[in-house]
C-alpha cells in the first residue's frame, strides 16, 4: 500500500516536471518602434496558439542602445534566440564571428515560401541564409505642398533645381530654414552622402571601395568622392541647412518640419507617422534629386533591408526560424505593414493593408526604384564608417575641405584593410 501512496504523492511533481520539460521558450529582441508592441503582441499570440507549449518572450530596446546591447548579449551565455538586425556589415560581422545561426535548412518549409530570393540575399553569406528580412526602410524628401504652392515653388527633380529651391526659399524669407538637418548624432548627413556617392559615382564604382577589396593605390581615390562632399558644401552655400546642424538633434529637426517652420526635410519612411503624431499630415514626398552629370542611376533609391537573425547559441533554432517564418507569412507581413508601416518583404496581401496615404505612396514608389542604395554606415567597416561620420561633422562646421575629408577616410580605409 505504501508504495502506491508514495507514487500518488509524487504524481503532481512528475506531471509538473514533464510539462516543464516539454515547454519551450524563445526570447526575441526587437527595436522600440511605433506599432511594434501591438504587432508583437498579436503575432506572438497567434504563434503560441499554433504551437502549444511554446512561449515567446519579447524584449524591446531603443535604436542606439540596441546596437551595443545586442553585441554584448550575443557573446554572453543567455542571448536572445531571435534578434533584430540590419542587413550589411552589422549582420556580416556576426556571421564571421560565429554568433549567427545558419537557418537555410528551415527555409524551404517556412520563410523561403513567402520571401523572394532578392530580399533573402540581403542576409545571405556564402550561399547560406543567416536571417530573414521583414522589411526595408527608405528615405524621401517630405515637403509642405501649401508652402510650395503659395510661393510658386515646384518640386525639384535635379540637384541644381534643388539648390535653386533652397535659394528661392531663403529669398522669400531668409529666416526660414529650407531643410533642417539634425546631425547631432552624425548619421543624418551620412544618409545624404550615401545618396550623393551613389548619384555621383554609381554603385558599381563604389562596390570595391566599400568592400575594401580595391587595390591600396586605388582605394577611395576616385575624385567622385570629393565631388560628392562638394555637393554637401554646395547645399550649405545655397542656404539649405540651418547654421548649427551639428548641434541640432534629429528630433528637433523633425519637429521643425512638423510645426511647418521649415518646408522640407529628408527623412525616413518611418517619419510620416511621427509627423502625424505631432499634428501635421498634409505633407507630400519626393525622391532624392537626380544629378544631370552623375554616373549613378537616377532611379536608385535609399533602401536598407532589416530583419531577424537567430543566435548560434539558441537551443531551439528550428523554433526560432519558425517564429521568423511566422512574421513573414502572408498574414504576418500584412499585419506588419498595417501596424508598423514597414515596406514589407512579402507583399502578397499588401492590397488588404489599410495603410496611411504615405505608406501607400512608399510601397508604390519603391516598386519603381531601379536600384537600391544601402546606407554606408551599414555597408562599411566600422572604422571607415566612423571616419565618414566625423568628416561629415567637420565639413558642416567648415573645419575640413572635401579633399581633406577623403584623405582621412582613405587613411582609415587603408588601416582597416591592413588589419
Amino acid at each position: 500500500m505504501k508504495p502506491i501512496i508514495g507514487m500518488l504523492a509524487l504524481a503532481p511533481t512528475i506531471v509538473l516536471c514533464a510539462s516543464v520539460a516539454s515547454a519551450q521558450e524563445i526570447k526575441i529582441w526587437t527595436l522600440v518602434q511605433e506599432g511594434m508592441p501591438e504587432f508583437m503582441e498579436g503575432t506572438i499570440s497567434t504563434f503560441e496558439a499554433a504551437n502549444p507549449g511554446v512561449t515567446v518572450v519579447n524584449e524591446s530596446f531603443p535604436n542606439e542602445a540596441y546596437k551595443t546591447q545586442i553585441q554584448v548579449a550575443l557573446t554572453g551565455s543567455a542571448p536572445p534566440d531571435v534578434f533584430f538586425n540590419w542587413a550589411g556589415e552589422d549582420a556580416a560581422r556576426l556571421v564571421r564571428d560565429g554568433l549567427a545561426a545558419d537557418i537555410s535548412a528551415y527555409g524551404a518549409s517556412g520563410y523561403a515560401k513567402t520571401v523572394g530570393e532578392g530580399w533573402l540575399s540581403s542576409f545571405a553569406f556564402d550561399g547560406a541564409n543567416y536571417g530573414v528580412p521583414t522589411d526595408a526602410v527608405s528615405k524621401y524628401f517630405y515637403y509642405d505642398p501649401a508652402f510650395f504652392s503659395d510661393n510658386d515653388l515646384s518640386v525639384p527633380e535635379t540637384f541644381d533645381e534643388f539648390l535653386a529651391t533652397c535659394q528661392a526659399i531663403r529669398t522669400i524669407d531668409s529666416s526660414i530654414v529650407p531643410w533642417p538637418l539634425g546631425n547631432s548624432e552624425r548619421w543624418k548627413l551620412n544618409h545624404v552622402i550615401t545618396m550623393l556617392n551613389q548619384r555621383v559615382l554609381g554603385l558599381d564604382a563604389l562596390a570595391a571601395d566599400y568592400a575594401l577589396t580595391a587595390p591600396d593605390d586605388e582605394l577611395f581615390t576616385n575624385p567622385g568622392y570629393v565631388e560628392a562632399w562638394q555637393k554637401v558644401v554646395d547645399m550649405q552655400d545655397a542656404g539649405c541647412f540651418q547654421d548649427a546642424p551639428n548641434a541640432t538633434s534629429p528630433e528637433a529637426s523633425r519637429s521643425m518640419f512638423a510645426a511647418q517652420v521649415s518646408p522640407m526635410i529628408y527623412c525616413g519612411t518611418w517619419c510620416g507617422n511621427i509627423f502625424q503624431a505631432e499634428g501635421y499630415e498634409d505633407f507630400e514626398m519626393f525622391r532624392f534629386p537626380a544629378l544631370t552629370d552623375g554616373a549613378g542611376d537616377p532611379g536608385g533609391q535609399f533602401l536598407v533591408p532589416q530583419g531577424y537573425m537567430v543566435s548560434s547559441k539558441s537551443e531551439h533554432p528550428e523554433l526560432a526560424a519558425a517564429f521568423i517564418s511566422h512574421i513573414v507569412s502572408d498574414e504576418g507581413a500584412r499585419d506588419f505593414a498595417e501596424q508598423i508601416g514597414g515596406i514589407v518583404s512579402n507583399p502578397a496581401l499588401i492590397d488588404e493593408v489599410d495603410g496611411t496615404r504615405w505608406f501607400k505612396f512608399f510601397v508604390s514608389d519603391i516598386a519603381t526604384a531601379t536600384e537600391s542604395v544601402n546606407v554606408i554606415d551599414v555597408l562599411l567597416d566600422a572604422s571607415v564608417a566612423n571616419a565618414y561620420l566625423d568628416a561629415g561633422v567637420e565639413i558642416l562646421n567648415g573645419t575640413m575641405t572635401p579633399e581633406d575629408a577623403m584623405t582621412t577616410i582613405r587613411e582609415a580605409a587603408l588601416a582597416a584593410k591592413s588589419g
Binding site: 547631432s184 547654421d243 548649427a244 548641434a247 541640432t248
Partner: protein
Amino acid sequence: MKPTPILKPRQSVGVQIVQNQSVLVLPALLICTVFIFIPAFLTIFGSFYAFGLTSQNWEPVGFGNYVRAWNDDVFWIALRNNIIIVLGSIVLQVGIGTVLAAVLDRGISFGQTFFRVIIFMPMVISAVAVALIWLIILDPNIGILNAIVKSVGLSPPKLGWLGDPSISIWMVLVVAAWQYTGFMMVLILAGLQAIPNHLYEAAALDGARGFRAFWSITLPSLRNVLVVAILITTIGGFKVFDLIFVLTNGGPANATQVLGTYIYLQAFTLTNMGYANAVAVVLLAIAVFLGWLQLKVSRRS
C-alpha cells in the same frame, strides 16, 4: 599512568578579535574580487591582445595597443579634455562652492536653508537628466540660452553651443559645474562650520574682517577639506562619462571626447576591444594613483 594532556595555549582576546575582523572583511573582499579585481585583471590582460567585441579570436600584440594609444591623436585629445575638465571643475566647482559656502555661512542671515537646498538640488538629479535638460537649453533652434543672448543684442555662436568645437568643451564644464557645485558647497560648508568662532572674534579685534578674515582664517582652516574636495573633483573629472555621452557623445569631431567616451567608442562602436582595454588601463592607472593620493591626504587630515 595516564599521559598528561597537552593543553592548547589559550588565545588572547586580542587575537580572537583580529580573527573575527578578518572574517567580517571577507564578504566585502569577495565582492571586490568579483566586481573589481577580476574585471581589472581581465582588462589588463585583454589590453595585450587585439580582439573585437564579438570575435572569438584573441591575437597577442604585446604592448601594441599602448603604442597605438601613444600615436593616437584622439587619445591625447581625450586625455587633454579630461585635464581641462579637472582643472576647470576645480576652479568652477571648488572655487564657486567655497565662495557660496562662505556666503551662506557668514554672508547672509536669512534663507540659508532655502539657498542651500536650491544650490544642492542639481546634485540629486541624474547626470543623464541634467544633460537632457541642458540639451534643450542649449539647442540652437529652440533653446532659451540663444533667446537670452539675442535679447541683449549679442549673437550666439553660429555653430551652436555644443556644435562649435572651440566652445563645446567649455559648455560641458558649465553644465558639470551647475550640477556639482552644490555638492562642493555643502562639503565646504561643513568644514566652515567646524571653524571655532573665537578665531574670527580674535581676528576682528585685530581689525581683520571680511575678505581679510576669509583669506587668513577661513582658507587655512579649510585646507584639508579643500584638498579632499579637489581630489574628489579630480577623480570625478577623469571618470566623467554619462554627462558627455548624452550631451555631445564626444563630438563635434572628437572636440569633447574624454577617455571614458573614447573607451566606449572604441569598444562598442568600432569594436576594438583590445585597444579599448589599453585605454581603460591608462584611465585605471590614473584613477588608482588619485585614489591613493586621496587616501593619503584623508589619513593625514
